[in-house]
Symmetry: C2
């Protein structure tokens, strides 16, 4: 079975949306990526750090999904990374209310021996130096390295981010981040500039408007499923990345055609994630239900124009 | 050949975008609809009004495209409707600088005798009372009535707009207008509410993010083609409506499956419209070039997931 190495935060989130608010609940990029990737036949491990305030039941939840958590360091006396945010009424923007780095501040990632030859590496959103350190520990060149990042690192660690961008095959960013990174408003031009920075594949996430995959002159546009209600967008991007990388790890085929499928799987899983608070929907989601919704993605976008008309 | 009746403005526009500005050039909803629909095998006529300041060459341009202009009233001594606007840097929003209704203020549309049994009626953006008057003059029930409208009429003529909405099969509005009309943020909920107001088919245009077609519980999502540069968005929505209604008039098939194709044709034509100022690109566009780009829409959205995985 192919190995998927995931690096990212495992954390506490407190979330407010127009529909309600939560106390500290399970969150973090690696958590969402791991849960999402667990729908595919891969052997996955998370590299992360928490404090000893982190509940065993949360760790068990990851283990139950077949995720190797031996590289989630538990710092004695330490506190787990905490993020708190409030979404605006349109759910497309949010304010960060509180960020407590805690144990994340001094995090030195340690890749487990048996994952130093991982087939696919998913670098979840974290300081670029942590992402670089993970790549430096690998003993074999992975088939695919996928990078997710955000505007925060463009603001405060751009040289380091540029370094890691050079070393990855796929980057996933949202539309505003693509524009910030390149100074180009047109996403076609932005993707071309990011392509020139290193990654062969550029994925631009547009939230409720779907996602674009760029590769050379080729473009693929995956819609987001139109939903009656988006309950909580937290983790949707990470869930997308987890589905994308998990599917590619399972299928061992990194052609453009198959990467289209990976984008659809990622969008499909993200469409579930936003239906409930935090990880709740992903934890309750069954594989049959997930596969069933793929049919909706097909009817949503497939058409049959005969070009002879 | 099927008859397509188009009602809408034929006008002068003056446009400013980040790329430049124009003097008074050819514009108007019916102009864009007519040009776009002329790519399909239909017999079409425009019902509209202009002043005698309107150049004969603009009228000839429509005639050259096979459009019957006998119902474009020319008011002696009258001035043609004029709109002037400035687009913001992102081209997604604009300010109206000037609107001179002129001859449009007292416009009494007169449907030509030989179009009172039109197969498809395309009600372009105009006062709802003008749209209703056109429907009242018909002597046979059309196969399809398509309505395009805008927020302006929701603000100042909502009861009349509600009347015309009741009487159409398809409505096309943009996302913000769908939200304004229904008070629903979710486009799925908004479409359901508009559906309940009358139209069997609801098309929600999302500009660079594509368009959604709703019918009962079914949804179709057509992407917009990602473009390097959007030069001038003026007329894109009308061009979309012209391609949509023109294709359906040609094909005589108003099934949901074929309406998907109509949406793709509309999106395809709109993707050309925005490449130059005003009607310039549409006037220069050849049919082969138009059909060629359909292939790009196919590769953009079609994927092949086997659901057995």
């Amino acid at each position: 079975m192919n190995k998927l190495l995931i690096v990212g935060t495992v954390a506490f989130d407190a979330i407010e949306t127009p529909f309600g608010k939560t106390d500290k609940i399970l969150g973090g990029a690696a958590t969402y990526i791991g849960l999402s990737a667990s729908f595919f036949k891969t052997q996955s491990a998370i590299v992360s750090v928490v404090g000893d305030d982190f509940p065993q039941e949360y760790l068990d939840l990851l283990t139950d999904r077949g995720i190797d958590i031996s590289a989630i360091e538990i710092v004695p006396g330490g506190k787990t990374f905490f993020w708190s945010g409030r979404y605006h009424n349109d759910l497309n923007s949010r304010d960060t209310l509180d960020t407590q780095l805690n144990t994340l501040a001094d995090f030195q990632p340690k890749v487990p021996e048996n994952f130093k030859d991982a087939d696919v590496v998913m670098l979840g959103n974290l300081h670029p130096l942590v992402q670089i350190s993970v790549l430096d520990q690998l003993t074999a060149t992975p088939k695919l390295v996928v990078l997710d990042t955000m505007n925060f690192w463009m603001d405060c660690a751009l040289p380091e981010l540029t370094e890691v961008i050079k070393r990855v095959d796929v980057i996933t960013v949202n539309d505003e981040e693509a524009r910030q990174l390149t100074g180009e408003y047109s996403l076609v031009k932005a993707a071309a500039k990011i392509h020139a920075m290193g990654p062969e594949y550029v994925v631009i996430k547009k939230g409720e408007h779907g996602a674009l995959l760029f590769h050379d002159k080729k473009v693929f546009y995956a819609p987001a499923l139109p939903l009656e209600e988006v309950f909580d967008p937290t983790g949707a991007g990470d869930t997308f990345a987890g589905g994308f990388s998990g599917y590619l790890a399972q299928s061992e085929n990194i052609s453009f055609a198959n990467m289209k499928n990976a984008i659809i799987y990622g969008s499909n899983l993200a469409s579930f994630c936003v239906e409930k608070f935090g990880t709740e929907r992903m934890v309750g989601l069954g594989k049959a239900e997930m596969l069933d919704r793929l049919q909706q993605f097909k009817s949503l976008t497939q058409f049959d124009i005969s070009l002879a008309e």
